[in-house]
């Protein structure tokens, strides 16, 4: 077998490179940037794993994927086995293989990374998940446990909700997912652009869940169409994962000018409603020639790269700290730079200037410099007196963050919330109401897909225990 390689041989293999679309070409279309590995490259990369006994990578994974076992099966070219292990641990592997920050999770803990490069676990997860999607007939039928006759309602068809639904359905429970929008995926569909996560990947992962017997009920807004009390009366348990979908406002003068978008609005128009990327789309979007995106996270990168693809000649990130403090993934920053995005660092917005017809004309800014560290441990930006200047822009995007949407919690007064309106839970995901669990951004505030999925998995385990007891 190919994975009987000696340690020396494994150590001699260099880390694989992800094939990417040419930066100039891709900065004008919405095709997926990372093209995925070829079989021989994937197998060879899997052989770099030295199968260490203490498995630190698994600890680094919020959903605890059995990474060494998946990689061992892949190294031996046993794709069906690798896929079965992966899918048993992770309800959305093709998503995670694309959007997880592996460099701070599994790969950060990889022993190979101590002296050299970590194994490219994320690329391999994607490879195995994509193979499984393309070869459903070679996977074999997964064992379905006996139906439990217990029912669970899941609120929100995003990463936390879909993960919990998969785990609960695999335990034999009858699961109904309620989704407020007209389609599934939550932030995966409305937030993450096609060039990072093609929508057909989400469709395919959701089909997997439907095949497990999960019912998905779109256009149902819990707190409006149905109340939490109604769900509690109708179902044995409820998992709330309705996200943090409320944009924070900049509170700057000029914020209501035409051409000012929240990140959520720009991304929803383009991702969910297909504006600007599907000629048949009926929802419009203002495609700026000079676009300033305020913020330094992954959402800001998604917005600025989207603006570039919509045709912006200048697409700029305006961030008040320096690049070292940016919360965005290294890969997103690299991709954005390659695509011609300008990084205007140590710059804070002061006001949005309009023209005589009410459209954005410029973003008035001020230079900043880094002072001593603040509460977050990052050096605090301090204004440089007299450094005001105007950045010409016809579209300004606010990507400074989101907070909890109160639609559900406003109609559930007994549910304990923190100061920011997020639902309070214990380590297992249980809320202050019996039988009601919560997870994802509704609990954490804006966080990552994989942390939301980890919450879904943990809460599903707690619900399984509660329903068995």
């Amino acid at each position: 077998m190919a994975n009987d390689l000696a340690m020396k041989e494994r150590l001699a293999i260099p880390r694989v490179h992800m094939p990417e679309l040419d930066a100039t070409e891709r900065s004008r279309n919405f095709a997926e940037v990372n093209r995925g590995l070829e079989m021989t490259d994937a197998v060879r990369e899997a052989q770099r794993c030295i199968q260490c006994k203490h498995r630190p990578c698994v600890d680094g994974c919020p959903v605890g994927v059995s990474i060494p076992e998946v990689l061992d099966a892949l190294a031996a070219e046993d794709l069906p086995l690798a896929a079965r292990i992966l899918r048993g641990d992770n309800a959305l592997p093709a998503v995670c293989g694309r959007v997880c920050p592996q460099e701070t999770q599994c790969e950060a803990k990889c022993v190979r990374g101590v002296k050299g490069d970590a194994v490219a676990i994320g690329y391999l997860e994607r490879f195995v998940a994509d193979w499984a999607m393309a070869n459903p007939d070679r996977l074999g039928q997964a064992d379905r446990p006996a139906a439990s006759d217990r029912t669970v309602a899941v609120v929100g068809a995003g990463p936390a909700g879909l993960t919990a639904a998969g785990e609960l359905a695999r335990a034999g429970h009858r699961v109904t997912v309620f989704e407020a929008l007209h389609d599934t995926g939550g932030v995966l569909r409305y937030g993450i652009p096609e060039f990072r996560l093609p929508k057909e990947i989400i469709d395919s992962e959701v089909e997997q869940l439907a095949a497990l017997g999960v019912a998905i009920d779109c256009n149902v807004i819990i707190g409006k169409t149905l109340t939490l009390d109604q769900l509690r009366a109708e179902f044995d348990a409820v998992f709330i994962a309705n996200g943090a979908g409320l944009p924070m406002m900049l509170d700057l003068k000029g914020e209501n000018l035409k051409g000012v978008y929240s990140a959520n609005e720009l991304l929803t128009r383009v991702n969910l409603m297909e504006a600007g990327r599907n000629p048949a789309a009926t929802t419009p979007v203002i495609a700026g020639k000079s676009v300033a995106v305020i913020g330094g996270g992954n959402t800001a990168m998604d917005c600025v790269r989207t603006a570039r693809r919509l045709g912006a000649q200048r697409a700029m990130i305006v961030y008040r700290r320096s690049e070292a403090e940016m919360p965005a993934r290294v890969e997103e920053i690299k991709h954005a730079k390659e695509e011609g995005v300008e990084f205007v660092m140590l710059t804070a917005p002061l006001e949005i200037i309009g023209n005589e017809s009410g459209w954005v004309a410029a973003l008035r800014c001020r230079r900043m410099e880094l002072g001593p560290p603040d509460d977050s441990g990052r050096r605090k930006p301090v204004p440089v007196e007299g450094s005001e200047f105007d950045l010409p822009a016809d579209v300004v995007v606010n990507a400074i963050g989101t907070r909890a949407n109160p639609l559900l919690t406003a109609t559930a007064p007994d549910l304990d919330l923190n100061t920011w309106g997020n639902i309070v839970v214990d380590d297992a995901g249980a809320t202050s109401l019996p039988g009601v669990f919560a997870g994802g951004d509704m609990v954490r505030g804006g966080a990552t897909v994989i942390l939301a999925m980890g919450d879904g998995k943990r809460a599903a385990a707690a619900i399984n225990r509660a329903l068995a007891g």
Binding site: A180, L181, H182, Y190, C218, N219, V220, I221, K224, T225, L226, G245, L246, P247, M249, D251, E255, N256, K258, G259, Y261, S262, N264, E265, T268, R269, M273, E274, N278, A280, A281, T282, T283, P284, I286, G358, N405, P406, L407
Partner: protein
Amino acid sequence: MFEVLSNETLAPNLHRMVVRAPRIATARRPGQFVIVRADRGEERIPLTIGDADPAEGTITLFVQAIGASTRRIVSTPAGGSLRDVAGPLGQPTHIEQFGRVACVGGGVGTAVLYPLAKALAAAGNEVTSIIGGRSSQYIILADELAALSHELLVTTEDGTRGRKGFVTAALADLMADPERAPRLVLAVGPVPMMRAVAELTRPHGIQTLVSLNPIMIDGTGMCGGCRVVVGGESKFACVDGPEFDGHRVDYASLMDRLTTYREFEDAARCAADECRLGEVANG
């Protein structure tokens, strides 16, 4: 899928549609709206819930065909279905016994006004309805409003029905009569009309509510596209509204933001009318 049970034309390009949506029919309160898409690929269109019958599990929608997506909705015949109907969204109207209430509707705004007038009348208020339109064919729901109102006043710009002129003139007369002056005014219609009503009532300190119709996508507070300035603060019409204190709304900003996609709307309208224009030109 949401079955369409009936679809009738009330006025040019204005349809009344009854749709089966049992959960919404039960949960809905006057003043709330739904988001509708006739089919995949269409825009999400916010529509006031005109009426609801929880026993039958139906809601009534008044739909004005303007762009491609609203045309698709009104072209769905009885027996057909709408792919997406989500709601009820927004805050319900605060209904209590105020005493004398004037309900002022302009054009298709009368359809938004109707459920509010009905609820206020049912709560024991003395409702005077004032509705206006460009000409008689744009006067809608007159019989329905007359049935629940203490008094119904109709105005048309061309004088083809009722008093010639604007609803504000009829309201001004009402306010001048101590026997009939309202304690609360509700106004729904084009932004200039709502602004004119608010300016009329402001000096008299009469509480005035307006129902706003900014551009919206999700309707759940997610995108902030529907933000309006009320009392100097940004509010989301979809979750904080759609009704606001008419004396505190920044109408100029609302009107300006409504023009954001005018170029796209004109292009869509041209595309829809192209065939006919072509026929005329060639004929």
